[in-house]
Protein backbone atom coordinates (compact mmCIF):
# COMPACT_ATOMS: atom_id res chain seq x y z
CA UNK A 1 0.00 0.00 0.00
CA UNK A 2 1.27 3.44 -0.88
CA UNK A 3 1.96 5.49 2.22
CA UNK A 4 -0.31 8.44 2.80
CA UNK A 5 0.01 9.39 6.46
CA UNK A 6 3.74 8.78 6.47
CA UNK A 7 4.33 9.95 2.92
CA UNK A 8 7.61 11.73 2.33
CA UNK A 9 8.82 11.37 5.92
CA UNK A 10 12.21 10.07 4.77
CA UNK A 11 12.74 13.54 3.32
CA UNK A 12 14.67 15.42 6.04
CA UNK A 13 12.71 18.60 5.21
CA UNK A 14 9.31 16.94 5.11
CA UNK A 15 7.95 19.29 7.80
CA UNK A 16 8.52 22.32 5.57
CA UNK A 17 5.47 23.70 3.79
CA UNK A 18 7.22 23.91 0.42
CA UNK A 19 8.19 20.24 0.52
CA UNK A 20 4.62 19.40 1.48
CA UNK A 21 3.26 21.46 -1.41
CA UNK A 22 5.65 19.72 -3.80
CA UNK A 23 3.93 16.39 -3.12
CA UNK A 24 0.47 17.85 -3.64
CA UNK A 25 -0.06 19.27 -0.16
CA UNK A 26 -2.96 21.67 0.45
CA UNK A 27 -4.60 20.69 -2.83
CA UNK A 28 -7.34 18.87 -0.92
CA UNK A 29 -8.02 22.07 0.98
CA UNK A 30 -8.65 23.95 -2.25
CA UNK A 31 -10.87 21.14 -3.45
CA UNK A 32 -12.75 21.01 -0.14
CA UNK A 33 -13.71 24.70 -0.36
CA UNK A 34 -15.62 23.90 -3.56
CA UNK A 35 -17.94 21.72 -1.50
CA UNK A 36 -20.53 22.90 0.98
CA UNK A 37 -19.60 22.07 4.61
CA UNK A 38 -22.32 19.41 4.89
CA UNK A 39 -21.13 17.76 1.67
CA UNK A 40 -17.73 17.21 3.24
CA UNK A 41 -19.28 15.57 6.28
CA UNK A 42 -21.30 13.41 3.89
CA UNK A 43 -18.16 12.31 2.05
CA UNK A 44 -16.44 11.49 5.35
CA UNK A 45 -19.54 9.55 6.40
CA UNK A 46 -19.63 7.54 3.18
CA UNK A 47 -15.90 6.95 3.49
CA UNK A 48 -16.69 5.25 6.82
CA UNK A 49 -13.94 7.03 8.77
CA UNK A 50 -13.75 6.07 12.43
CA UNK A 51 -11.81 7.97 15.07
CA UNK A 52 -8.28 6.65 15.44
CA UNK A 53 -7.81 7.66 19.08
CA UNK A 54 -9.07 4.36 20.45
CA UNK A 55 -12.85 4.45 20.63
CA UNK A 56 -13.46 4.15 16.88
CA UNK A 57 -16.45 6.49 16.95
CA UNK A 58 -17.81 7.44 13.49
CA UNK A 59 -16.22 10.80 12.70
CA UNK A 60 -19.03 12.20 10.56
CA UNK A 61 -21.52 11.72 13.38
CA UNK A 62 -19.53 13.95 15.75
CA UNK A 63 -19.13 16.50 12.99
CA UNK A 64 -22.81 16.65 12.11
CA UNK A 65 -23.87 17.11 15.76
CA UNK A 66 -21.48 20.03 16.18
CA UNK A 67 -22.52 21.55 12.85
CA UNK A 68 -26.18 21.40 13.83
CA UNK A 69 -25.65 23.27 17.09
CA UNK A 70 -26.47 26.97 16.89
CA UNK A 71 -23.99 28.31 19.45
CA UNK A 72 -20.94 30.16 18.13
CA UNK A 73 -17.99 30.19 17.91
CA UNK A 74 -17.34 26.50 17.48
CA UNK A 75 -14.07 24.77 18.19
CA UNK A 76 -12.09 21.96 16.64
CA UNK A 77 -9.58 20.28 18.94
CA UNK A 78 -6.91 17.89 17.84
CA UNK A 79 -6.08 15.31 20.48
CA UNK A 80 -2.31 14.99 20.23
CA UNK A 81 -1.95 13.73 23.79
CA UNK A 82 -1.03 10.18 22.83
CA UNK A 83 -0.21 8.92 26.28
CA UNK A 84 -1.29 5.29 26.21
CA UNK A 85 1.98 3.50 26.95
CA UNK A 86 3.26 1.79 23.82
CA UNK A 87 1.78 4.48 21.57
CA UNK A 88 4.03 6.54 19.34
CA UNK A 89 2.03 6.50 16.11
CA UNK A 90 1.12 10.20 16.03
CA UNK A 91 4.66 11.36 16.68
CA UNK A 92 5.88 10.91 13.07
CA UNK A 93 2.91 12.92 11.79
CA UNK A 94 3.47 15.67 14.35
CA UNK A 95 7.22 15.86 13.83
CA UNK A 96 7.55 15.04 10.15
CA UNK A 97 4.22 15.68 8.48
CA UNK A 98 2.62 18.55 10.45
CA UNK A 99 1.09 20.17 7.38
CA UNK A 100 -0.97 17.06 6.66
CA UNK A 101 -2.55 17.50 10.08
CA UNK A 102 -3.03 21.25 9.61
CA UNK A 103 -4.63 20.72 6.20
CA UNK A 104 -6.95 18.10 7.72
CA UNK A 105 -7.88 20.48 10.53
CA UNK A 106 -8.72 23.39 8.23
CA UNK A 107 -10.97 21.12 6.18
CA UNK A 108 -12.60 19.66 9.30
CA UNK A 109 -13.03 23.15 10.75
CA UNK A 110 -14.78 24.24 7.57
CA UNK A 111 -17.04 21.17 7.66
CA UNK A 112 -18.25 21.76 11.22
CA UNK A 113 -18.29 25.55 11.05
CA UNK A 114 -15.45 25.99 13.54
CA UNK A 115 -13.38 29.12 13.38
CA UNK A 116 -10.85 28.19 16.03
CA UNK A 117 -8.75 25.12 16.54
CA UNK A 118 -6.23 23.93 19.09
CA UNK A 119 -3.77 21.08 18.93
CA UNK A 120 -3.55 19.67 22.46
CA UNK A 121 -0.03 18.30 22.43
CA UNK A 122 1.40 16.09 25.16
CA UNK A 123 4.06 17.80 27.23
CA UNK A 124 6.52 14.99 26.59
CA UNK A 125 6.91 16.01 22.92
CA UNK A 126 8.95 19.23 23.19
CA UNK A 127 10.37 18.75 19.69
CA UNK A 128 6.94 18.48 18.12
CA UNK A 129 5.87 21.65 19.94
CA UNK A 130 8.44 23.72 18.06
CA UNK A 131 7.84 21.95 14.75
CA UNK A 132 4.08 22.49 14.95
CA UNK A 133 4.45 26.15 15.86
CA UNK A 134 6.75 26.67 12.90
CA UNK A 135 4.39 24.81 10.57
CA UNK A 136 1.41 26.86 11.79
CA UNK A 137 3.36 30.09 11.18
CA UNK A 138 4.12 28.90 7.64
CA UNK A 139 0.47 28.02 7.05
CA UNK A 140 -0.50 31.57 8.13
CA UNK A 141 2.11 33.06 5.77
CA UNK A 142 0.67 31.00 2.93
CA UNK A 143 -2.87 32.05 3.78
CA UNK A 144 -4.01 28.52 4.64
CA UNK A 145 -4.91 29.83 8.09
CA UNK A 146 -6.35 33.22 9.03
CA UNK A 147 -9.44 35.39 8.68
CA UNK A 148 -9.87 34.95 4.93
CA UNK A 149 -8.26 31.71 3.87
CA UNK A 150 -7.23 31.77 0.19
CA UNK A 151 -9.59 34.68 -0.36
CA UNK A 152 -12.60 32.38 0.10
CA UNK A 153 -14.00 34.23 3.11
CA UNK A 154 -13.35 31.28 5.39
CA UNK A 155 -11.87 31.90 8.82
CA UNK A 156 -9.89 29.38 10.83
CA UNK A 157 -7.25 30.06 13.47
CA UNK A 158 -5.03 27.41 14.96
CA UNK A 159 -2.73 27.24 18.00
CA UNK A 160 -0.83 24.59 19.92
CA UNK A 161 -1.63 24.02 23.58
CA UNK A 162 1.04 22.08 25.40
CA UNK A 163 -0.09 19.62 28.07
CA UNK A 164 2.06 19.04 31.13
CA UNK A 165 2.21 15.32 31.72
CA UNK A 166 -1.15 13.77 32.53
CA UNK A 167 -2.37 10.59 30.82
CA UNK A 168 -5.96 11.38 31.71
CA UNK A 169 -5.94 14.41 29.40
CA UNK A 170 -6.26 12.02 26.46
CA UNK A 171 -9.86 11.54 27.64
CA UNK A 172 -11.70 14.21 25.73
CA UNK A 173 -13.56 15.97 28.52
CA UNK A 174 -10.40 15.99 30.66
CA UNK A 175 -8.59 17.44 27.68
CA UNK A 176 -11.14 20.24 27.55
CA UNK A 177 -10.68 20.95 31.26
CA UNK A 178 -6.93 21.08 30.76
CA UNK A 179 -7.20 23.38 27.75
CA UNK A 180 -9.33 25.72 29.86
CA UNK A 181 -6.51 25.84 32.40
CA UNK A 182 -7.83 23.40 34.95
CA UNK A 183 -6.91 20.02 36.39
CA UNK A 184 -7.53 17.32 33.82
CA UNK A 185 -10.52 15.66 35.43
CA UNK A 186 -13.25 14.22 33.20
CA UNK A 187 -16.64 15.91 32.99
CA UNK A 188 -20.09 14.43 33.31
CA UNK A 189 -21.77 13.68 29.98
CA UNK A 190 -24.29 14.80 28.79
CA UNK A 191 -23.94 17.52 27.79
CA UNK A 192 -21.57 16.18 25.18
CA UNK A 193 -18.64 18.24 23.92
CA UNK A 194 -20.30 18.58 20.50
CA UNK A 195 -22.85 20.83 22.23
CA UNK A 196 -21.07 22.12 25.32
CA UNK A 197 -17.36 21.67 24.92
CA UNK A 198 -14.39 23.97 25.40
CA UNK A 199 -15.33 27.46 26.66
CA UNK A 200 -18.90 26.05 26.79
CA UNK A 201 -19.13 26.05 22.99
CA UNK A 202 -19.78 23.24 20.46
CA UNK A 203 -16.53 21.32 20.14
CA UNK A 204 -15.28 18.45 18.03
CA UNK A 205 -12.27 16.52 19.30
CA UNK A 206 -10.48 14.27 16.85
CA UNK A 207 -7.22 12.38 17.07
CA UNK A 208 -4.14 13.40 15.04
CA UNK A 209 -4.34 10.35 12.78
CA UNK A 210 -8.08 10.82 12.24
CA UNK A 211 -7.65 14.40 11.05
CA UNK A 212 -4.68 13.40 8.92
CA UNK A 213 -6.97 11.05 6.97
CA UNK A 214 -9.20 13.91 5.83
CA UNK A 215 -7.03 15.29 2.99
CA UNK A 216 -6.80 11.78 1.50
CA UNK A 217 -10.56 11.26 1.67
CA UNK A 218 -11.14 14.58 -0.11
CA UNK A 219 -8.43 13.81 -2.65
CA UNK A 220 -9.52 10.33 -3.73
CA UNK A 221 -13.20 10.44 -2.74
CA UNK A 222 -15.17 8.17 -0.44
CA UNK A 223 -15.53 5.35 -2.94
CA UNK A 224 -11.80 4.85 -3.43
CA UNK A 225 -11.07 5.45 0.24
CA UNK A 226 -13.53 2.82 1.42
CA UNK A 227 -11.72 0.22 -0.67
CA UNK A 228 -8.69 0.52 1.63
CA UNK A 229 -8.69 -1.76 4.67
CA UNK A 230 -11.63 -3.58 6.30
CA UNK A 231 -15.09 -3.05 4.85
CA UNK A 232 -16.57 -1.86 8.16
CA UNK A 233 -13.46 0.10 9.21
CA UNK A 234 -11.87 1.46 6.05
CA UNK A 235 -8.71 3.42 5.55
CA UNK A 236 -5.02 3.23 6.31
CA UNK A 237 -3.97 2.62 9.94
CA UNK A 238 -0.81 3.40 11.81
CA UNK A 239 0.36 0.48 13.91
CA UNK A 240 3.20 1.20 16.29
CA UNK A 241 5.04 -1.90 17.35
CA UNK A 242 7.43 -2.12 20.28
CA UNK A 243 8.99 -4.76 22.49
CA UNK A 244 10.60 -8.00 21.36
CA UNK A 245 10.37 -7.80 17.58
CA UNK A 246 13.26 -7.58 15.15
CA UNK A 247 12.03 -4.38 13.53
CA UNK A 248 9.95 -2.23 15.86
CA UNK A 249 8.50 1.02 14.55
CA UNK A 250 5.44 2.72 13.08
CA UNK A 251 3.85 0.86 10.17
CA UNK A 252 1.20 2.32 7.89
CA UNK A 253 -0.92 -0.62 6.74
CA UNK A 254 -4.51 -1.19 5.67
CA UNK A 255 -6.90 -1.19 8.63
CA UNK A 256 -7.62 -4.78 9.59
CA UNK A 257 -4.15 -6.18 8.96
CA UNK A 258 -3.81 -9.48 10.84
CA UNK A 259 -1.90 -9.09 14.12
CA UNK A 260 0.26 -12.14 13.35
CA UNK A 261 1.27 -10.59 10.02
CA UNK A 262 2.16 -7.30 11.68
CA UNK A 263 4.48 -9.12 14.06
CA UNK A 264 5.96 -11.78 11.78
CA UNK A 265 5.70 -10.34 8.28
CA UNK A 266 6.23 -6.64 8.78
CA UNK A 267 8.28 -6.55 11.96
CA UNK A 268 10.48 -9.53 11.17
CA UNK A 269 9.23 -11.80 13.97
CA UNK A 270 10.43 -12.21 17.53
CA UNK A 271 13.82 -10.82 18.43
CA UNK A 272 16.80 -13.17 18.68
CA UNK A 273 14.80 -16.25 17.71
CA UNK A 274 12.92 -16.40 21.01
CA UNK A 275 9.31 -17.51 21.35
CA UNK A 276 6.34 -15.18 21.59
CA UNK A 277 4.53 -15.19 24.91
CA UNK A 278 1.93 -12.44 24.83
CA UNK A 279 0.86 -9.28 23.03
CA UNK A 280 -0.81 -6.11 24.23
CA UNK A 281 -2.42 -5.21 20.91
CA UNK A 282 -3.56 -1.63 21.46
CA UNK A 283 -1.56 -0.19 24.35
CA UNK A 284 -1.18 -1.41 27.93
CA UNK A 285 -4.84 -1.04 28.89
CA UNK A 286 -6.18 -3.24 26.08
CA UNK A 287 -6.76 -6.91 27.00
CA UNK A 288 -3.59 -9.01 26.71
CA UNK A 289 -3.57 -11.79 24.10
CA UNK A 290 -1.62 -15.04 24.51
CA UNK A 291 0.71 -16.14 21.67
CA UNK A 292 -1.87 -18.51 20.14
CA UNK A 293 -4.59 -15.85 19.85
CA UNK A 294 -3.02 -13.40 17.43
CA UNK A 295 -4.77 -14.37 14.20
CA UNK A 296 -7.11 -11.43 14.47
CA UNK A 297 -7.74 -8.52 12.10
CA UNK A 298 -6.57 -5.34 13.79
CA UNK A 299 -9.62 -3.11 13.48
CA UNK A 300 -12.28 -1.66 15.76
CA UNK A 301 -14.96 -4.23 14.90
CA UNK A 302 -12.90 -7.44 14.78
CA UNK A 303 -10.74 -7.07 17.87
CA UNK A 304 -13.59 -7.20 20.43
CA UNK A 305 -14.72 -10.46 18.79
CA UNK A 306 -11.24 -11.82 19.46
CA UNK A 307 -11.18 -10.81 23.09
CA UNK A 308 -9.33 -7.54 22.92
CA UNK A 309 -9.47 -4.04 21.44
CA UNK A 310 -7.69 -2.10 18.75
CA UNK A 311 -7.07 0.80 21.13
CA UNK A 312 -4.45 3.08 19.70
CA UNK A 313 -2.89 0.35 17.54
CA UNK A 314 0.06 0.18 19.93
CA UNK A 315 1.29 -3.39 19.68
CA UNK A 316 3.59 -4.38 22.56
CA UNK A 317 5.23 -7.73 21.88
CA UNK A 318 6.56 -9.79 24.77
CA UNK A 319 8.76 -12.85 24.46
CA UNK A 320 9.05 -15.89 26.75
CA UNK A 321 11.46 -14.18 29.16
CA UNK A 322 8.94 -11.58 30.26
CA UNK A 323 7.19 -11.91 33.61
CA UNK A 324 3.57 -11.01 33.07
CA UNK A 325 2.91 -10.38 36.75
CA UNK A 326 5.60 -7.73 36.54
CA UNK A 327 4.10 -6.22 33.38
CA UNK A 328 0.66 -6.20 35.01
CA UNK A 329 2.16 -4.56 38.10
CA UNK A 330 3.94 -1.93 36.00
CA UNK A 331 0.69 -1.14 34.17
CA UNK A 332 -1.14 -0.67 37.48
CA UNK A 333 1.68 1.43 38.90
CA UNK A 334 1.22 3.69 35.90
CA UNK A 335 -2.57 3.82 36.21
CA UNK A 336 -2.38 4.55 39.94
CA UNK A 337 -0.04 7.44 39.16
CA UNK A 338 -2.34 8.73 36.43
CA UNK A 339 -5.69 8.31 38.18
CA UNK A 340 -7.07 11.83 38.45
CA UNK A 341 -8.58 11.21 41.87
CA UNK A 342 -12.09 12.29 40.96
CA UNK A 343 -13.93 9.03 41.61
CA UNK A 344 -13.41 6.58 44.45
CA UNK A 345 -13.29 3.18 42.69
CA UNK A 346 -10.45 4.29 40.45
CA UNK A 347 -8.55 6.43 42.97
CA UNK A 348 -8.59 3.71 45.64
CA UNK A 349 -8.80 0.64 43.42
CA UNK A 350 -5.73 1.32 41.31
CA UNK A 351 -3.62 1.68 44.46
CA UNK A 352 -4.90 -1.52 46.02
CA UNK A 353 -4.43 -3.50 42.83
CA UNK A 354 -0.89 -2.17 42.46
CA UNK A 355 -0.02 -3.02 46.02
CA UNK A 356 -1.36 -6.61 45.82
CA UNK A 357 0.46 -7.15 42.51
CA UNK A 358 3.62 -5.76 44.06
CA UNK A 359 3.66 -8.28 46.86
CA UNK A 360 2.95 -11.15 44.47
CA UNK A 361 5.79 -10.08 42.19
CA UNK A 362 8.10 -9.71 45.20
CA UNK A 363 7.35 -13.27 46.30
CA UNK A 364 5.26 -12.13 49.24
CA UNK A 365 1.87 -13.01 47.81
CA UNK A 366 -0.52 -14.98 50.00
CA UNK A 367 -3.21 -17.48 49.20
CA UNK A 368 -6.38 -15.67 48.17
CA UNK A 369 -4.53 -12.78 46.51
CA UNK A 370 -5.76 -13.71 43.04
CA UNK A 371 -9.36 -13.78 44.29
CA UNK A 372 -8.72 -10.45 45.99
CA UNK A 373 -7.44 -8.95 42.72
CA UNK A 374 -10.54 -10.22 40.94
CA UNK A 375 -12.80 -8.87 43.65
CA UNK A 376 -11.24 -5.39 43.74
CA UNK A 377 -11.16 -5.12 39.95
CA UNK A 378 -14.71 -6.46 39.72
CA UNK A 379 -15.82 -3.63 41.99
CA UNK A 380 -14.22 -1.10 39.69
CA UNK A 381 -15.38 -2.37 36.32
CA UNK A 382 -18.26 -0.29 35.00
CA UNK A 383 -18.32 1.77 38.20
CA UNK A 384 -15.85 4.50 37.36
CA UNK A 385 -16.39 7.92 35.88
CA UNK A 386 -14.18 7.43 32.84
CA UNK A 387 -12.40 4.59 31.04
CA UNK A 388 -9.19 4.88 33.10
CA UNK A 389 -10.66 2.91 35.99
CA UNK A 390 -12.24 0.39 33.65
CA UNK A 391 -8.93 0.01 31.90
CA UNK A 392 -7.14 -0.69 35.18
CA UNK A 393 -9.68 -3.34 36.18
CA UNK A 394 -9.63 -4.93 32.76
CA UNK A 395 -5.81 -5.14 32.66
CA UNK A 396 -5.81 -7.17 35.87
CA UNK A 397 -8.72 -9.39 34.89
CA UNK A 398 -7.30 -10.23 31.48
CA UNK A 399 -3.78 -11.00 32.72
CA UNK A 400 -5.31 -13.36 35.27
CA UNK A 401 -7.72 -14.84 32.71
CA UNK A 402 -4.94 -15.87 30.34
CA UNK A 403 -1.97 -16.32 32.66
CA UNK A 404 -3.43 -17.35 36.02
CA UNK A 405 -0.82 -20.08 36.39
CA UNK A 406 1.93 -17.47 36.41
CA UNK A 407 0.29 -15.60 39.29
CA UNK A 408 -0.25 -18.89 41.15
CA UNK A 409 3.39 -19.89 40.67
CA UNK A 410 4.62 -16.61 42.10
CA UNK A 411 2.51 -17.13 45.21
CA UNK A 412 3.33 -20.85 45.60
CA UNK A 413 7.08 -20.47 45.00
CA UNK A 414 7.39 -17.20 46.89
CA UNK A 415 9.49 -15.74 44.08
CA UNK A 416 9.55 -14.61 40.47
CA UNK A 417 11.28 -17.22 38.33
CA UNK A 418 11.78 -14.73 35.52
CA UNK A 419 13.93 -12.42 37.60
CA UNK A 420 17.20 -13.96 36.41
CA UNK A 421 16.10 -13.69 32.76
CA UNK A 422 15.60 -9.97 32.94
CA UNK A 423 17.65 -7.89 30.53
Amino acid sequence: MEKVLLKNIENPNSADINEYKKIGGYRSLLKAFDYKPLDITDIVKKAGLRGRGGAGFPVAMKWSFAYADTKFPKYLLCNADEGEPGTFKDRPILEKNPHLLIEGMVIAGYAIGAQYGYIYLRGEYPGAYHILNKAIAQAYENNFLGDDILGKGIKFHLAVHRGAGAYICGEETALIESLEGDKGQPRMRPPFPVNVGVFAKPTVINNVETLSNIPLIIEIGDEEYSKIGSSDCPGPKLYCVSGHVEKPGVYELPMGTILRDIIYKHCGGIKAGKNLKAVLPGGITTPVLPADKIDCPMDFVSMPKHGSMLGSGAVIVMDETVCLVKVCHRALKFLEHESCGKCTPCREGTGWLRSILERIENGEGVEGDIELLLSVSGNMLGKTFCPLGDGAASVVQNFIKHFRNEFEEHIKDGKCKFKSLRV
Binding site: E82, G83, E84, P85, G86, T87, F88, R91, R122, G123, E124, Y125, P126, G127, A159, H161, R162, G163, A164, G165, A166, Y167, S178, L179, E180, G181, D182, K183, G184, F199, C240, V241, S242, G243, H244, P248, G249, V250, L280, I284, A314, I316, M318, V322, K326, V327, R330, A331, F334, H337, E338, C340, R422, V423
Partner: protein, 154 residues
Protein backbone atom coordinates in the same frame (compact mmCIF):
# COMPACT_ATOMS: atom_id res chain seq x y z
CA UNK B 1 7.88 38.60 39.88
CA UNK B 2 8.12 37.49 36.29
CA UNK B 3 10.65 39.27 34.11
CA UNK B 4 9.48 41.83 31.56
CA UNK B 5 10.28 39.43 28.74
CA UNK B 6 8.24 36.70 30.40
CA UNK B 7 5.26 39.04 30.90
CA UNK B 8 5.46 40.00 27.24
CA UNK B 9 5.62 36.35 26.18
CA UNK B 10 2.68 35.53 28.42
CA UNK B 11 0.62 38.39 27.01
CA UNK B 12 1.20 37.05 23.52
CA UNK B 13 0.16 33.54 24.54
CA UNK B 14 -2.85 35.01 26.33
CA UNK B 15 -4.14 36.27 22.95
CA UNK B 16 -4.56 32.69 21.74
CA UNK B 17 -7.41 32.08 24.18
CA UNK B 18 -10.81 33.66 24.78
CA UNK B 19 -10.15 33.86 28.53
CA UNK B 20 -7.10 34.39 30.69
CA UNK B 21 -7.39 31.27 32.82
CA UNK B 22 -6.84 29.09 29.72
CA UNK B 23 -3.30 30.45 29.60
CA UNK B 24 -2.55 28.92 33.02
CA UNK B 25 -0.64 25.86 31.77
CA UNK B 26 1.65 27.88 29.48
CA UNK B 27 2.06 30.48 32.24
CA UNK B 28 3.20 27.80 34.68
CA UNK B 29 5.77 26.61 32.13
CA UNK B 30 7.08 30.16 31.82
CA UNK B 31 7.21 30.60 35.60
CA UNK B 32 9.02 27.29 35.96
CA UNK B 33 11.61 28.45 33.45
CA UNK B 34 12.04 31.77 35.27
CA UNK B 35 12.11 30.50 38.85
CA UNK B 36 13.61 27.06 38.21
CA UNK B 37 10.66 25.37 39.89
CA UNK B 38 7.19 26.24 41.09
CA UNK B 39 7.37 27.52 44.64
CA UNK B 40 5.25 30.11 46.45
CA UNK B 41 6.88 33.01 44.54
CA UNK B 42 6.22 31.42 41.17
CA UNK B 43 2.59 30.68 41.96
CA UNK B 44 2.05 34.23 43.20
CA UNK B 45 3.59 35.64 40.03
CA UNK B 46 1.38 33.50 37.77
CA UNK B 47 -1.69 34.20 39.84
CA UNK B 48 -1.10 37.96 39.63
CA UNK B 49 -0.23 37.94 35.94
CA UNK B 50 -3.39 36.07 34.91
CA UNK B 51 -5.82 37.09 37.62
CA UNK B 52 -6.29 33.44 38.55
CA UNK B 53 -6.72 32.68 42.28
CA UNK B 54 -3.56 31.36 43.97
CA UNK B 55 -5.33 28.21 45.12
CA UNK B 56 -6.36 27.41 41.56
CA UNK B 57 -2.87 28.05 40.20
CA UNK B 58 -1.33 25.77 42.81
CA UNK B 59 -4.04 23.12 42.47
CA UNK B 60 -3.53 22.94 38.74
CA UNK B 61 0.26 23.09 38.93
CA UNK B 62 0.46 20.19 41.35
CA UNK B 63 -1.85 18.05 39.20
CA UNK B 64 0.58 17.76 36.29
CA UNK B 65 3.78 15.72 36.37
CA UNK B 66 5.92 18.08 34.33
CA UNK B 67 5.78 20.95 36.79
CA UNK B 68 8.56 20.71 39.36
CA UNK B 69 8.15 21.68 42.97
CA UNK B 70 11.71 21.70 44.20
CA UNK B 71 15.00 23.00 42.79
CA UNK B 72 16.28 20.82 39.96
CA UNK B 73 19.72 20.19 38.51
CA UNK B 74 20.94 22.05 35.44
CA UNK B 75 19.85 19.13 33.25
CA UNK B 76 16.89 16.86 33.74
CA UNK B 77 17.39 13.22 32.79
CA UNK B 78 13.94 11.81 32.09
CA UNK B 79 14.13 8.05 31.81
CA UNK B 80 11.10 6.06 30.70
CA UNK B 81 10.46 2.82 32.59
CA UNK B 82 6.99 1.99 31.28
CA UNK B 83 6.27 -1.44 29.81
CA UNK B 84 7.99 -1.20 26.40
CA UNK B 85 11.12 0.31 27.94
CA UNK B 86 10.98 -1.94 31.01
CA UNK B 87 10.99 -5.19 29.03
CA UNK B 88 14.02 -3.93 27.13
CA UNK B 89 16.05 -3.15 30.22
CA UNK B 90 15.12 0.32 31.49
CA UNK B 91 15.30 -0.75 35.13
CA UNK B 92 18.95 -1.74 34.78
CA UNK B 93 19.61 1.68 33.26
CA UNK B 94 17.93 3.28 36.23
CA UNK B 95 20.24 1.24 38.52
CA UNK B 96 23.18 2.36 36.39
CA UNK B 97 22.29 6.03 36.83
CA UNK B 98 22.10 5.43 40.56
CA UNK B 99 25.39 3.57 40.85
CA UNK B 100 27.45 5.60 38.43
CA UNK B 101 26.06 9.11 39.01
CA UNK B 102 24.39 8.78 42.39
CA UNK B 103 21.08 9.67 40.80
CA UNK B 104 18.10 8.47 42.79
CA UNK B 105 14.60 8.77 41.38
CA UNK B 106 13.56 12.37 41.89
CA UNK B 107 17.03 13.23 43.15
CA UNK B 108 19.75 15.65 42.08
CA UNK B 109 23.50 15.16 41.98
CA UNK B 110 25.43 17.12 44.67
CA UNK B 111 27.07 19.26 41.95
CA UNK B 112 23.55 20.16 40.69
CA UNK B 113 24.45 18.91 37.24
CA UNK B 114 21.65 16.35 36.83
CA UNK B 115 18.26 15.51 38.22
CA UNK B 116 16.57 12.21 37.49
CA UNK B 117 12.88 11.93 36.74
CA UNK B 118 11.32 8.56 36.01
CA UNK B 119 8.83 9.09 33.18
CA UNK B 120 5.58 7.39 32.26
CA UNK B 121 6.05 6.70 28.54
CA UNK B 122 7.64 9.36 26.38
CA UNK B 123 6.39 7.93 23.06
CA UNK B 124 9.69 6.41 22.00
CA UNK B 125 8.59 2.80 22.50
CA UNK B 126 9.85 1.59 19.11
CA UNK B 127 13.36 2.67 20.05
CA UNK B 128 13.25 1.57 23.69
CA UNK B 129 14.79 2.04 26.14
CA UNK B 130 14.60 5.79 25.78
CA UNK B 131 14.99 9.03 27.71
CA UNK B 132 14.76 12.75 27.32
CA UNK B 133 17.59 14.95 28.54
CA UNK B 134 15.97 18.37 28.87
CA UNK B 135 14.16 18.63 25.48
CA UNK B 136 16.16 16.07 23.51
CA UNK B 137 15.22 12.46 22.85
CA UNK B 138 17.83 9.69 23.19
CA UNK B 139 16.83 6.23 22.11
CA UNK B 140 18.10 2.62 21.99
CA UNK B 141 19.95 3.32 25.21
CA UNK B 142 22.77 1.26 26.66
CA UNK B 143 24.90 2.03 29.69
CA UNK B 144 27.79 3.04 27.45
CA UNK B 145 25.57 5.26 25.32
CA UNK B 146 24.17 7.00 28.42
CA UNK B 147 27.73 7.79 29.51
CA UNK B 148 28.46 9.33 26.11
CA UNK B 149 25.24 11.36 26.14
CA UNK B 150 25.68 12.74 29.64
CA UNK B 151 29.24 13.84 28.81
CA UNK B 152 27.66 16.46 26.55
CA UNK B 153 25.73 18.04 29.41
CA UNK B 154 27.84 20.07 31.80
Amino acid sequence: MLSKAAIKELNEIRQKYPDASAALLPALYIAQREFGYLGADAYEAVSDALGVPRAIARGVGTFYAMYKHKPMGRHIVQLCTNVSCMILGAEKLSDFLKNKYGLETGGTTPDKRFSLVIMECIGACGTAPAMLVDDDFYENLTEKYIEEILEKYK
